[in-house]
Symmetry: C2
Subunit: 213 residues, 2 copies
């Protein structure tokens, strides 16, 4: 947001797609594939060859004319662009149904994200562990974040309490919130929120079903 750049502006979706390329390249590398063309990578990601090349071109020239891209080096480049050199610690707020599922979800760890701690109000859960992650009293968030300088929080609480908790998180230096609560969080400009709203996804289907009748 408040970022300067001497190069051209990078479309937001380009970042999303890089993540997609990384996933495929990681798989391809494991399968032993050495090189890949933009059109092959496009096929795998359901995009166009031009889109793939354009996306990569924002960050440099990684390809070889007439040959394509080398899988491993390109994978490393993208990992680097996405800042995935080291494991990133995150906290989880809310250890209910969804929160518990997220704690048990192995995908985060595989992708280099470590849920350092979880927080909940339920006294039956406080002090316990889920998938090796300790669950603390939500009142302790401030103390915790004073010691551990984390920037990312995953918010899996009810819409009712989400804004209040968000205010606390922002006060404690959290800059990125992955929000599962079905509401629009009010945050300062320097805080980034990404919303995952499961019902809304289905609602979009509902519209298309209605439209096709």
């Amino acid at each position: 947001m408040s970022q300067s750049s001497n190069k051209k502006k990078i479309p937001k979706n380009t970042i999303t797609r890089l993540s997609l390329y990384l996933r495929e390249l990681t798989r391809l590398e494991q399968e032993g594939k050495k090189a890949i063309s933009s059109s092959e990578l496009a096929e795998l990601t359901d995009l166009t060859d031009t889109q793939v090349r354009k996306d990569l071109s924002y960050f440099g020239q990684f390809g070889i004319s007439g040959t394509g891209y080398e899988v491993s080096p390109l994978k490393e480049e993208i990992k680097n662009i996405l800042g995935k050199g080291k494991v990133l610690d995150v906290i989880l707020i809310g250890a209910g149904n969804l929160g518990s599922a997220l704690l048990s979800y192995s995908g985060f760890k595989i992708q280099g994200f470590n849920i350092k701690a979880a927080f909940d109000i339920d006294t039956r859960k406080i002090g316990q562990k889920i998938a090796d992650v300790p669950i603390h009293d939500i009142e302790k968030i401030q103390d915790f974040l004073k010691k551990e300088k984390l920037k990312i929080a995953i918010l899996a609480v009810s819409a009712f309490s989400a804004q209040k908790i968000t205010d606390t998180l922002v006060n404690c230096g959290i800059k990125y919130i992955l929000n599962f609560a079905p509401l629009i969080l009010k945050v300062p400009d320097d805080v980034m929120v990404s919303n995952v709203d499961l019902s809304r996804e289905l609602e979009i289907f509902s519209y298309f079903i209605k439209s096709s009748e």
Copy 2:
């Protein structure tokens, strides 16, 4: 996709935002608010007043100049546009950590989506119920979909088995898939897939953290 229209083309994001307006209007109605202006609704959804009016204008003229919009009628209009008159049945594939959380997630039911049945390969789960939803043997999907003509499936299985199951679902008439598996599903043009990839959301944060260092 294969939809004709005598009006202007409706941006994809407009549908997503309608869903947002609906959520706010539902809340406002409960709070007893009678009328709202586009700028108030914009404030609540973190959009602009013009955006709100433009979005609504694709579907008709619902406002009153000088006054704004009546909350209840507008809510009903949007419900109607989104095809939310009746409850929509869906099936869930995969009753693991995430699948179980989705079964217990009350948001779907509140929003008018009913998980009619779940399917899994784990024999310990088959025959059981989670949140009143029966879990069937995944081998029975075809039989089930022959009887029940559902169009929407939520896919919460591993990346490894997702494509194979998707092929089966598509063969059985499923047209909309909410996919939680971290891969791009190959489907025919008349099938719509919406991807929810949790790690990818965090990866985007990772990029911005890296960029701001």
